[in-house]
Point group: C2
Chain length 160, copies 2
Amino acid sequence: MNPANRENDDAARAAGSSLVQDFGLLIKAATRLEQRIDTALRRECEVSHTMFEVLIRLCRRPGEEISQRRLADDLTLTSSGITRLIDRMEGAGLVRRGPAPGDRRSVLVEATEHGRAVFLRAAAVHAQVVERYFVAPVARADYARLTHALGEIDKALRDT
Amino acid sequence: MNPANRENDDAARAAGSSLVQDFGLLIKAATRLEQRIDTALRRECEVSHTMFEVLIRLCRRPGEEISQRRLADDLTLTSSGITRLIDRMEGAGLVRRGPAPGDRRSVLVEATEHGRAVFLRAAAVHAQVVERYFVAPVARADYARLTHALGEIDKALRDT
DNA sequence: GCTCAGCAATTGATTGATCAGCAATTGAGA
DNA sequence: TCTCAATTGCTGATCAATCAATTGCTGAGC
């Protein structure tokens, strides 16, 4: 067998490997899921999924203030990414920027009254989609294992 | 209790719900995982993760030809997205466009020799990352359930 | 107290996606 | 046979992210 055929063969084996398939599945499922949420949130509440993720963090406690730095780390965004995201959210009246008491480099972000109201509506939409496409398709017993497994993956990723 | 406090309360409960947390975990884990793969592939093989996904499909069989339409559906890209992706891949010498025998609207895409060689190297990098961050963190027994669950999610998404 | 390495946020340029709209092609029904 | 809706791929405009460079501020070492 000549080298070119050998290469084609190896390539076919690699392309068909179940590891490759399974991994593709994870990425594809997550991407579609996020797209679904994003579309629903934009249509019904005029917020992107990313903005929703920011609001989750700002609405955990009334009056909660979080620095842009921390938000960026949390959402896996760069500092410039978070600057522009908060720009848009501020423009939409969802959040407010304020100075950080101990450090004048840092900017604290806080949800406005309007931001909280939008979050409340968005959370209902979010719950609907998640229930339908994430919880329902997974049998009860599998659910716990799934989330545990995802936690382990995430830990492995964060730790490096 | 006045209405504003009630709203804050509801918002806090929604933000803290474990459904919201778990879902966030899935998205975050998948996003980070993809980012990791993408970075590794770009650094070591000068291909994006999306290009890699195209190559997987083109390298399953030697001489395999797939229409742009089918690739777009498979990768959840729009038709313009796939056009530009294939433009770049063609520019990099990874794939070749050709006419579709039965339908003159359609364009068939095929991997070049160089594309196959790059895919082979990329598959090794891919396997390393997947092994480390996807397989290893998940205990043996959990692995099958995880993939099964993901399959169910994906099916639910595709069916609508 | 002074300096200087390092961090937070912002801005400009670039990348890679989307959407809307277009031309060419197809195929099914009047 | 002709017409017309649907489909494929392409192009221009826009959006949201990245990187790189810049500004302002902090804090540790001398």
